[in-house]
């Protein structure tokens, strides 16, 4: 390994700082009283509290899943706090009233919330630990009838929509972590795009874990009504700590007839140190439902952070002619472990799905693709194409592929292709003899490898993703 490359690999996680703010953190542990307390802090209606308790009671009966290809020290669910909020945040405040310390934090993360500075054409909802700090561009969006706010706010302002769709895609009983989330979920974003509206800007949520000894359990709900379109991006970071923190989020997408939702994630939680100490356990349930005909849901994810990633953004293709897409780049380095992939459930006629997954393993990282393509007997004319490629950098890493293909209709056409290979010596040599340095060569090969996924990201973020990838990886080859 050359020295310049080594320095690149060892580059510090630049989002690892801690913001010093007074917080209102409830004592560790989870029981019905804690859930009532969270609910009362958020001033929630009775139906939501009941739903939380239903989730909690269900969670108690469930066992933590151990089928993923990852290993970690057991999580003590009673040792962490389920609610932590900066004291200075009051509900429904305007952005001018936000604690300057918090604004500085977001500025440092490259997400300016000041109205003068924000990225043009992007509306941001900033979530800090368990609460939303503020949402930009709300007024402009409201002109189009678009609702973009924190879920807590939506519960108060638009209870009918929340009540109708919350848990409709990921029910409280879905899985262990989804049940935990249903019981203890804190804030998240809520988006509603009315009929026939094309959202004029990118919507984005920035998640930040700050407090120690807490978990983040946000819940995001996006509803695209008939004929609408929205592109949504989430980003996430956390401070460097030597203890692991749990992040068990749920994302639900509902696309009605002719609607399109494009959901992009750049996940950069703290990954732990080189020995694998600390880092975020990212156990997330993401699922979209193409409820109406001709609807489309597209997931794009760039997974570079987290000590452990366990997530399978899925699409239920219920409406006829609906389309599901999944584009993923997952990078693991040092002791990171990722078990990620997608599920495409074909129910309607002529449904199509497309999966492109690129895994890069470096250092001692373990990367698994786990995917399901299921064609139900009634899904006449279903079509799937899956491609998952893995690149290996270094001799202690691993790359694994576990695709499940279940076809119950003979008019379906399902194709799966996967390859695993080492980064090409000859390609590096070729680029070097054209005058590129080793690290430039690797960077070019990797970005070529991931191009198909990056081209799906919104412009501003494609660039960011590419840089992130460079930081996580470039140095691993020499």
């Amino acid at each position: 390994m050359s020295s310049s490359i080594e320095s690149l690999v060892n580059r510090e996680y630049q989002y690892g700082f801690v913001t010093d703010v007074d917080t209102d953190t409830i004592p560790p542990g989870l029981n019905e009283d804690v859930i009532r307390l969270i609910s009362s802090k958020k001033d929630e209606p009775q139906w939501l509290l009941d739903w939380r308790l239903k989730g909690y009671r269900r969670w108690l009966t469930m066992k933590e899943p151990h089928w993923p290809n990852v290993s970690y020290t057991p999580i003590d669910y009673q040792a962490q706090s389920y609610y932590s909020a900066p004291k200075s945040v009051t509900p429904l405040q305007s952005l001018d009233e936000v604690d300057p310390e918090l604004l500085r934090t977001y500025e440092k993360l490259g997400i300016p919330l000041n109205e003068q500075k924000f990225l043009s054409g992007v509306a941001v909802d900033a979530i800090f630990d368990s609460v939303s700090v503020g949402t930009t561009m709300k007024a402009e969006l409201m002109e189009h009838g678009i609702i973009f706010c924190s879920l807590g706010e939506a519960v108060k302002e638009h209870p009918e929509l929340v009540q109708k769709y919350l848990g409709s895609v990921v029910p409280h009983s879905d899985n262990f972590f989804a049940a935990l989330n249903a019981a203890a979920f804190s804030d998240g974003s809520f988006v509603y795009i009315p009929k026939g509206v094309r959202c004029p800007m990118e919507l984005s949520t920035y998640f930040r874990i700050n407090a120690e000894g807490t978990g983040q359990f946000e819940r995001t709900l996006i509803i695209a009504d008939e004929g609408s379109y929205v592109s949504y991006l989430e980003g996430c970071t956390a401070p460097k700590r030597s203890t692991s923190q749990l992040h068990a989020a749920v994302v639900e997408l509902v696309a009605l007839k002719d609607a399109t939702i494009k959901y992009s994630t750049v996940q950069n939680w703290y990954a732990g140190d080189k020995e694998g100490k600390g880092g975020i356990y990212n156990f997330v349930t993401k699922r979209g439902k193409c409820a109406g005909a001709n609807s489309k849901i597209s997931w794009t994810q760039v997974e570079t952070g987290s000590a452990i990633t366990w997530k399978y953004p899925s699409v239920i293709l219920q409406g006829d002619n609906s389309t599901g897409e999944f584009y993923s780049v997952a990078v693991v380095n040092n002791r990171q472990q990722a078990d990620t992939g997608t599920k495409m459930i074909h129910i309607g006629r002529n449904t199509r799905s497309n999966i492109v997954s690129k895994g890069i393993s470096a250092g001692g990282g373990q990367n698994s693709y786990r995917g399901l393509v299921k064609v139900m007997p009634k899904a006449e004319g279903a079509r799937n194409y899956t491609q998952c490629d893995s690149m290996l950098v270094g001799n202690e890493c691993g790359a694994h592929t576990f695709p499940y293909i279940e076809v119950g209709n003979n008019s379906a056409q399902v194709e799966h292709e996967a390859s695993t290979s080492k980064i090409g010596e000859d390609q590096i040599f070729y680029l070097k003899q054209r005058g590129l340095s080793a690290e430039q060569a690797v960077s070019m090969i990797v970005s070529g490898f991931c191009k198909e996924v990056f081209k799906e990201l919104p412009m501003e973020f494609a660039l960011e993703a590419q840089q992130l990838l460079g930081i996580t990886l470039e140095g691993s080859v020499g």
Binding site: P377, Y404, N409
Partner: protein
Amino acid sequence: MIDAYLRSFEAFSRNGGAAAPEWARALRLSAITRFETLGFPTTRNEDWHFTSVAPIADAALTPLTSPSGRVEAAQLAPFLFSDDWHQLVFVNGRFDAALSRTDALPDGVRVLPLAQAYDELPILVEQHLGRIASFDAHSFTALNTAFLHDGAVIHVTADVEVAKPIHLVFVSDAAAVNGAMHPRNLIVLDRFAKATVLETYCTTARGAGAYLTNAVTEASIGDGATLTHLKLQRESAQAYHVGTFDARQGRDSHLVSFSFATGAALSRTNIYTELRGEGCGATLNGLYLGDAEQTIDHQTRIEHVEPNCYSRELYKGILDGASHGVFNGKVYVHPEAQKTDGKQTNNTLLLSEKAQIDTKPQLEIFADDVKCTHGATVGRLDETSLFYMKSRGIDARTARELLTYAFAADVLETIELAEVRDGLEAATLRRYAGRA
């Protein structure tokens, strides 16, 4: 139901099984203990996720430990490809000397039933039997080992090439109904030895009723040796069949395996190999043809333990009626196995609306300098190919038949043994084109 097996085991240990050497009895005892713990696999077991063995677990099947049934040479003819191959025949799980033929074996080659091998090749059998096919996590292998009694032992000494194939025929007749057979075979190829072994599982009593064949074959392939192994599963339509082939390969050795599965109501074929030396090669091909309510399950596992080995795998399936196919293929590359070159393909053709396939090709790679790919496709006949053929004046029916046959022939033509290749091609053509 497990209790019934334990009682059968008790009876078997006192009677038929008592003649076996001390170590074999100890092995059987540990196997039945393991089976008692494991029980039959359920669909919660990842390896059996798509195939429920409840019909086997719920059926009252008695182990066939004493000789039974009667099969004439003429009844066997349709399953034989040649009348001058070396041949061992087992009727309802027990060796039948009259139907077997081992007189023309070259020097340095032994092909004999297990009971005889205990006496004549005691060290060889003790060194290998039960050492390759682990029953730790495999219920059916545990059950087979518990009732270990009969089967074939093949030993080819160093540098010897067996020119003619060795055919092991496991035939059942009406006397096998409601019985369970647990044949156990051992193939040992010393350095630079070369042999072709066929295993045929067939019946002379189609439609007579259910029985279980639970076979295990262990193969030790020495340095530089080459084993060609063909398994032809042509059981009766009511039968249950579980067959495991487990090989260990030495340096620069080659395994060429072919699994042809068309019979049984419920069948599961496991083909496992471990590439334990440098420069090994493994080729695992197969064809499964399902119809009616059949379930045909294949599981393959190729373990790359040492560097510079290659593996090739092509499994194809044609499913008609309401049949259910399962393919679960795993390529596992250990951290030391650099320069591994692996390729795995599974293609399934669904001919009817009710046919169903679950396929799960897996790669688990812990080394960095490797080249591994896998691919899987599921679909019906390609419309454009059909259109092309019709545009050339071939009627729709013929076009369908030809394309279906061609799909299967693509993998059948990888069989090097001409008699078997031609025989299976002709049978497939008859089946899908209604003419020979």
